[in-house]
């Protein structure tokens, strides 16, 4: 096996024993990226980057990570390296500081290079087709989407162009691409991981999380990036346990709820059968699985598309051509209010179609005459959705569902119908609204050889239950050992 095909925990062992060097690993990665990036397009601005520029510094070879490189989504600030949210409006932006997660990774010995992974612009999307740089292609079928918005990160890990990556999740943007690409993706509890340095989409929903080749790697990186951060006022002051201790615990007696609203008439039969088989496997490992109800499930998407877009309209108001990025050149215009024109033209030209659509929808929901009927109402239904989960978690340790309603769809299939695209988030969205942690792990393949993901949800700050359950399944199913043929 090539070095880039190994997991982080395998590589850490080899690096510690000095069987390989960090340079060996970087060489393998460089080779792989040169081989397949033109097909997969997981990374952006590749021409501006060269591995030969990298010289792993002494501090990188610290305990824990020993110089393992971590690939970063383009909306997480890396000091001095371009961070553009895959949008024209942030063209050329080089953050003057590192996000807290980046600082934590560096302190643990990670190597962070400037090559960033592709994403839907500002995380607006479920397919990575809304990127200013064009779509990423699913390594399992190059004509299919990798999912989104962290499609670049998921595709990079799945195609061994990254050992591990960071993604972000506001409505499923880590879990759904992880499912489509056959890798592991974790959305931590809201507040578990600092958002300082994450370019915000929806402040009450966003979380950064790891996308990895297996559950053990996911636990290792969850340990590193989690924790209270005084720079993030929404950061939770809750101790971080050692998530790797949850691995290997087994799931005898664990109570798992299977929500009936997620298995409705007309759902994709392949996904239904694959997930039901996975539930069967969980039962055979000793879990007690029963049907439960999350009655407000059908309202999750409308609630999300009001709250998330409303918050986005506020968060994206800062992109106006004044402090960073693209500015529309309207010098010489004969106009009454040149500043207003600069704002409007900068935003009109700088934002892509989906970004403009969401900002306008969000602005509408908050505007006079509509605020009560839409935004305030959505906040109240959000409470009902959260309470659905509270009721189930009173009697159950976790909930298991499909991650996505289908396997990866074809590039171009849904991008012209925004509503169809939004409906593909049906299983992931509620976890963001309720602030609960959720993980997606591979659990099978469709007859077209596209990965299918199993989602596990737990109550706030119960990531240990997620790792325990995910690991038990993974060790008995071994889907993570399969690789796409590129």
């Amino acid at each position: 096996m090539e070095l880039n095909e190994l997991t982080a925990h395998e590589l850490i062992e080899k690096l510690k024993k000095k069987e390989i060097t960090s340079h060996d690993l970087l060489t393998a990665l460089d080779k792989r990226i040169s081989q397949v990036n033109s097909k997969v397009k997981a990374y952006v601005r590749v021409n501006d980057f060269s591995f030969s520029d990298l010289r792993p510094k002494a501090y990188n070879l610290q305990p824990i990570l020993q110089g393992i490189p971590v690939s970063i989504k383009d909306n997480i600030c890396t000091e001095g390296y371009p961070t553009e949210c895959c949008s024209k409006i942030l063209e050329g932006f080089k953050p003057p500081y590192d996000a807290t997660v980046i600082r934590k990774l560096k302190e643990s010995g990670a190597l962070i290079f400037s090559l960033k992974t592709n994403m839907d612009e500002f995380a607006f999307g479920s397919s990575t087709e809304n990127s200013y740089f064009g779509p990423t292609h699913n390594p399992w079928d190059l004509e299919s989407v990798p999912g989104g918005s962290s499609g670049g990160s998921a595709a990079a890990v799945a195609s061994d162009q990254a050992i591990v990556a960071l993604g972000t999740d506001t409505g499923g943007s880590i879990r759904q691409p992880a499912a489509f690409c056959g890798v592991v993706g974790l959305k931590p509890t809201y507040g578990r991981v600092s958002r300082y340095g994450l370019i915000a989409f929806a402040s009450s929903l966003d979380q950064i999380g790891p996308i990895t080749k297996d559950v053990q790697d996911c636990a290792i990186f969850a340990n590193i990036i989690s924790g209270y951060d005084p720079s993030d006022s929404t950061s939770a002051d809750v101790a971080v346990p050692d998530y790797t201790k949850s691995l290997g615990m087994g799931i005898k007696g664990i109570k798992i709820g299977i929500p009936k609203e997620y298995f409705i008439e007309g759902m994709d039969t392949e996904v239904k059968n694959i997930v039901e088989e996975a539930v069967h496997k969980l039962k055979s490992l000793g879990a007690d699985c029963k049907e439960v109800s999350l009655p407000h499930t059908q309202y999750a998407i409308p609630v999300y598309y009001i709250i998330a877009t409303a918050e986005a309209s506020s968060n994206l108001a800062r992109f106006d051509g004044v402090q960073y990025g693209f500015r529309a050149d309207n010098q010489g215009l004969n106009s009454e209010n040149r500043l207003l024109d600069m704002y409007k033209q900068t935003r009109g030209k700088g934002f892509g179609e989906e970004a403009k659509r969401r900002i306008i929808l969000g602005t509408f929901a908050l505007s006079v005459g509509y605020y009560d009927a839409y935004y305030l109402r959505a906040l109240k239904v959000r409470t009902l959705i959260k309470e659905d989960f509270d009721h189930v978690f009173a009697d159950f340790d976790c909930i298991v569902t499909p991650t996505a309603p289908t396997g990866a769809f074809k590039i171009g299939e849904k991008v012209k119908d925004p509503l169809q695209m939004y409906l593909s988030d049906i299983y992931t969205i509620s976890a963001n609204l309720a602030g609960i942690p959720a993980i997606s792990i591979p659990c099978g393949f469709t007859k077209n050889n596209l990965p299918v993901g199993l989602q596990i949800l737990a109550k706030p700050f119960a990531e240990e239950t997620l790792f325990r359950t995910a690991h038990a399944y993974e060790q008995n199913a071994a889907w993570q050992k399969m690789k796409p043929k590129l």
Binding site: Y299, R327, R338, Y343, R347, I360, F364, L419
Partner: protein, 106 residues
């Protein structure tokens, strides 16, 4: 400007005027094609969202924030701030220690 179209409690009607008004609030200039497309798409999306109007929300408190934390403050202690040069590094147009923008005041 009449930005409020004929709505009923059950159905919000999106018109070109609605979208133009909202685009102005959001400081986004739309082309004629974008405007026409958005009117249709927004109507579609809102028709779907309108199912929320059927739920009984009497007595339900809004959740604007999922964690039970409030008033997160820090001590009034000066710390290190971003140096001016760093803060202005990405400026599309810089003049001295300022971001330069088109004239606002006559």
């Amino acid at each position: 400007m009449n930005s409020k179209p004929k709505n009923t409690p059950e159905h919000t009607l999106i018109t070109k005027e609605t979208v133009q008004h909202v685009a102005h609030l959001a400081r986004i200039e739309l082309s004629r094609l974008e405007l026409e497309r958005l009117v249709l798409q927004l109507q579609d999306i809102l028709d779907f969202i309108d199912k929320l109007k059927k739920i009984d929300i009497t007595g339900v408190n809004p959740t604007s924030h999922i964690l039970p934390i409030k008033n997160v403050l820090r001590g009034d202690d000066p710390g290190v701030s971003l140096f001016i040069d760093k803060a202005l590094e990405n400026a599309p147009h810089r003049e001295g220690n300022f971001f330069a923008v088109p004239q606002v005041i006559e």
